[in-house]
């Protein structure tokens, strides 16, 4: 679509307003007295200095009269004199004064529309076209023009929602996050009731669609930023699998509408894990054998895992790490069984008592997630392999305590992070997996968990190993899926105090991208999250926020300038969000559709 095509398309219908004032800080448009709402988008073609189409987003508007500067006296007169009236000649004079900021402008470069940040202004008295004004055909034309100039910004990959213009979702203008960026970090911020669960459900659906497309497309035909996406989806309300009561299903429905081969490729051997008994899970015909009881073993846990999720003093942290080094994968049993000897330097009586008390939730069979068992029995290796194979795992945490939920997330994240680091460090397969004579990179990065490594080795050396090419060579990390781990109620484990002494999440936030591992930080509060973590987030889906402090923090945190959206962060409706990303030149308001 050329500049002239856009102008001709727009000129087929009425223009909505005329540019009255344009400066680098504000745009003012006088417009017809027609329905509009804050957030509406306007196209302003202008050929001054080059053929460009500017995009304006209205953030403030006011009623205006053409000839009367002051309407107050009219209102006062009407009140003062009971018989005062308005003549019916006002209609032509009734105008709207719209103001806001330019989001940017697009110009053709090598036959592709490039959208740029607003460094230029449209010419005097340019005609302004509202997106979503007029009849159905007019709106379709406007959407087509908008989609053309934003093509690069809308992206390909995982569909997030439709571009939102005021109160209208432009269903023809789909906003996507390329799969590659799930290996970066996402922030999902919004107060209760803004539709975060639905947004995640839509995201899950879109990730399945993305992965299905890529499975069925030769890699040579992928878009530049395409990548399979694996998701570790913490599901505190146990709703993603079957969605809300009265609906026809969640992930189960998504899989059901696929052909069995595709469903198997995307969801086998399991997609749903829960603390409920496996028999109970699999008795549900919708889930069947694609459901697993989640269980970890004490031997899967490292001192860092525990330190990352609980309050530990400096001394306690040092003591726990030393115990880990001394007792290896048996360190928890050693502490709980009283097999750790105190010393005068690091493992003091007080520290040991503190560690013991913190590990109390793992004593006996108190934890359904980590029951006490002498034999190694854990789903961790299977979870890791599933995620490395492009699977989406719905993690029902409704029966877990908060500590268990955080522990599970931490252990999975840390294990995958360690494996990916090992994979990147290794030159060849043996260098990664190790031999009888020479430990591999996996041993170096997972030093103590012998049982887990054995389980991993068994699976990674199997025929369909995600880490090995058909010829037996080591697979490059870039060919593996982007693994994204959702951290619900993020402030509980990503607050500054918790991260003070180190955390796997701090490491992942800083280095995860190069290993293809991303975090999705979900929170009602932006202010409570460690700034170091926030600074690493480069895609934000910001919904309505509860108070000014949070809105201010969201504006401050966003990877693109969303200052002009700040007012709307207070009033956005369910499913409405602002998508900002460091790789997009413009923040995009989106309407996430209801998952049906």
């Amino acid at each position: 679509m050329t500049y002239n095509d856009i102008v001709q398309n727009l000129e087929k219908d009425e223009f909505f307003g005329v540019l009255a004032h344009a400066s680098t800080t504000e745009i003012v448009i006088y417009a017809k007295n027609q329905d509009t709402s804050i957030g509406d988008l306007y196209l302003i073609p202008s050929d001054r200095g080059g053929e460009r189409v500017y995009l304006f987003r209205m953030s403030v508007y006011a009623n205006a009269l053409r000839r009367e500067e002051d309407m107050e006296f009219m209102a006062k007169n009407e009140l003062a004199w009971v018989d005062a009236y308005y003549a019916e000649d006002l209609d032509k004079d009734k105008l709207l004064k719209l103001s806001g900021v330019l989001l940017g402008y697009a110009e053709l470069e090598d036959d592709k529309w490039k959208f740029r940040t607003p460094r230029k202004l449209p010419a005097h008295l340019s005609k302004v076209y509202k997106v979503g004004f007029g009849g159905d055909q007019a709106i379709l034309r406007q959407q087509k023009c908008l989609a053309a100039i934003l093509e690069e910004q809308l992206g390909e990959g995982v569909y997030v929602g439709d571009l939102l213009a005021g109160e209208r979702a432009l269903t023809g203008v789909r906003v996507n996050i390329p799969g590659e960026y799930f290996a970066h970090h996402l922030g999902v911020f919004g107060r209760t009731g803004t539709g975060k669960s639905n947004n995640l459900m839509v995201l899950i659906d879109s990730i399945y669609a993305n992965n299905l497309r890529l499975i069925n497309t030769p890699r040579t035909d992928w878009f530049p930023k395409d990548r399979m996406v694996s998701l570790f989806a913490v599901d505190p309300h146990d709703e993603f699998a079957k969605w809300k009561p009265g609906t026809s299903g969640g992930i189960t429905k998504i899989l059901k509408r696929m052909n069995p081969r595709d469903a198997g490729l995307l969801a086998d051997p399991f997609f749903y894990i829960s603390c409920r008994e496996e028999g109970t899970i699999q008795a549900d015909p919708e889930i069947g054998t694609r459901g697993r009881k989640i269980i970890l073993h004490r031997k899967d846990l490292t001192p860092d895992d525990i330190i990352s999720i609980m309050e530990f003093t400096d001394l306690m942290s040092a003591a726990a790490e030393l115990i880990g080094e001394m007792h290896g994968e048996e360190w928890i049993s050693a502490v709980l069984n009283g097999d750790v000897e105190q010393d005068e330097n690091v493992i003091s009586k007080m520290s040991l008592a503190g560690i013991n008390r913190r590990l109390g939730f793992l004593a006996g069979n108190r934890s359904a997630l980590v029951p006490n068992s002498s034999t190694y029995n854990s789903l961790l290796a299977d979870i890791v392999i599933a995620l490395e194979s492009g699977r989406l795992i719905d993690v029902d945490t409704s029966l877990m305590t908060e500590v268990e939920q955080f522990l599970l997330t931490t252990v999975v994240a840390r294990t995958i992070f360690a494996l990916r680091k090992a994979l990147k460090s290794a030159c060849n397969w043996d260098g990664f997996i190790g031999t009888a004579k020479q430990p591999g990179e996996m041993d170096r990065h997972i030093p103590f968990q012998i049982s887990l490594k054995a389980a991993l080795r068994e699976r990674l050396t199997a025929e369909n190993s995600p880490y090995r090419e058909a010829g037996g060579t080591l697979r490059n990390i870039n060919q593996l899926p982007a693994i994204n781990i959702i951290i619900e109620e993020a402030p509980s484990i990503l607050n500054p105090a918790r991260l003070k002494f180190g955390s796997v999440f701090r490491d992942i936030s800083r280095q995860g991208r190069k290993f293809g591992i991303g975090l999705t930080v979900v929170s009602q509060q932006v202010t409570e999250i460690d700034t170091g973590i926030l600074s690493q987030v480069n895609t934000e889906i910001t919904m309505a926020l509860g108070n000014d402090e949070e809105r201010q923090a969201a504006v401050h945190t966003a990877s693109a300038d969303i200052f002009s959206f700040k007012r709307e962060l207070q009033v956005m409706g369910t499913g409405q969000a602002i998508l900002s990303a460091s790789y997009k030149n413009v923040p995009l308001p989106v309407q996430v559709p209801e998952f049906k």
């Binding site: 007169n77 018989d83 308005y86 003549a87 019916e88």
Partner: protein, 397 residues
């Protein structure tokens, strides 16, 4: 003058000027007998919240830039006039509504120069092409010659009313041409509005005929044509004067309030020579009421000042004729149009016409810019065409 004039002589002179001003006001004061007689004729009318029947009302106002360009004795004037027409809707929330397509706008450049032939040619072109009327039609369609003959010492026949026979002051008498052009534009627009068949046609001027019987004056030909055509179709030409020009008119307002208890919504018909009535001494030589007219001093709302209305005597005789019921309805009708929030206390159609016609300073500049651009294109961008001569000279000093 750098305030050098502020000396004792000036203070003495100002004191004397004010004393003479005071004497002039008191000298033109009606006698007690005259006041008593006028006061006795003051009548109230009802504040019109509803109407017995809806009607159509038009209004005209003019503006312009006089001149917009000048070079030596050559002047280009820019005349504008706007007309509006409304219908009342007594039973609707919006009590008055504009009629679609009823807001014509006249905008015309007129070239005048001191040389007599070019001067009258400028007016002829303005009237024929700008307004769309021919002098012959104006004369034939009106009683101008008859009225002229009846008021003056000599008889005027239609064949004597020609462009060359019309008296015009020199083009450099800018103020007189500004008045002439603006009045002609307004009256031309009023004539155009007659096709809307309004019951009332409001003019923002008086119906005065200063030169009738003495010399042929273009606006007076227009006035007679307008009034005659309007009366023939039942339209009242209502000339509304915000400044009533009645000496000590405030005394009449005081009588209305203090003696009759009418703080607003009252009217007083002034004695009219057109009806054969003797003119009170204090109104002699004032053309109040104007020749061939009946005038009222009246008040709409308490918030507005008393104003004056001039009506043609023929229409008045046919429609009001001192009938208090008809007069009350007439003023009630006008009062009903005064309740729009933007112009409470003043007929809204008049306000709308003014708003539509008046040129803002930016609009005046735009017109000038357009002309200057054309002048530059034609190679005339020199001297006072570009700048006002006075500004050029003053700038030099």
């Amino acid at each position: 003058m750098d305030f050098d004039f502020l000396d004792q002589t000036l203070l003495n002179a100002s004191k004397e000027a004010i004393q003479r001003f005071k004497d002039a006001i008191e000298g033109s004061k009606p006698s007690d007998k005259e006041l008593e007689a006028l006061g006795a004729k003051i009548r109230p009318y009802d504040h019109a919240r509803t109407l017995p029947a809806d009607f159509r009302i038009s209004a005209v106002d003019g503006s312009g830039e006089y001149p917009v360009l000048q070079q030596d004795d050559i002047f280009v004037h820019f005349a504008t006039a706007a007309g509006v027409t409304y219908e009342t809707h007594t039973n609707r929330q919006s009590k008055i509504a504009a009629i679609d397509g009823s807001s014509p706008l006249l905008k015309q450049f007129i070239l005048l120069r001191d040389e007599k032939k070019t001067l009258s040619e400028g007016y002829r072109e303005f009237v024929e092409h700008g307004i769309g009327l021919k002098l012959k039609d104006l004369v034939d369609g009106s009683d101008y010659c008859q009225a002229y003959s009846s008021q003056g010492k000599k008889t005027l026949s239609p064949s004597q009313v020609t462009w060359s026979g019309m008296g015009f002051s020199q083009a450099s008498q800018i103020a007189s041409h500004a008045y002439l052009l603006r009045s002609t534009a307004e009256l031309g627009m009023a004539i155009r509005l007659l096709e809307k068949q309004p019951r009332y046609l409001l003019l923002d001027t008086s119906l005065v005929y200063f030169l009738l019987g003495d010399s042929i004056f273009l606006p007076e030909i227009f006035k007679r044509y307008l009034v005659n055509q309007a009366t023939a179709q039942g339209t009242a030409v209502v000339a509304l004067c915000k400044s009533h020009n009645i000496p000590n008119g405030d005394l009449i307002g005081r009588i209305a309030k203090e003696e009759h208890g009418f703080k607003d919504h009252w009217y007083l018909r002034l004695p009219s020579s057109a009806l054969g009535e003797p003119t009170p001494n204090f109104l002699k030589d004032k053309e109040i009421p104007p020749k061939l007219c009946v005038s009222y001093l009246f008040k709409f709302e308490a918030t507005s000042f008393p104003m004056r209305i001039d009506l043609d005597v023929v229409w008045w005789s046919q429609n009001l004729a001192d009938d208090p019921i008809k007069e009350a309805r007439f003023f009630g009708d006008l009062d009903f149009t005064c309740h729009e929030v933007r112009s409470y206390g003043y007929p809204y159609p008049m306000h709308a016409a003014h708003r539509r016609a008046s040129l803002t300073s930016q609009e005046r500049k735009a017109v000038k810019d357009i002309l200057l651009k054309q002048a530059q294109h034609e190679g005339l961008a020199r001297g006072s065409v570009v700048q006002d001569p006075e500004a050029v000279h003053m700038g030099g000093i």
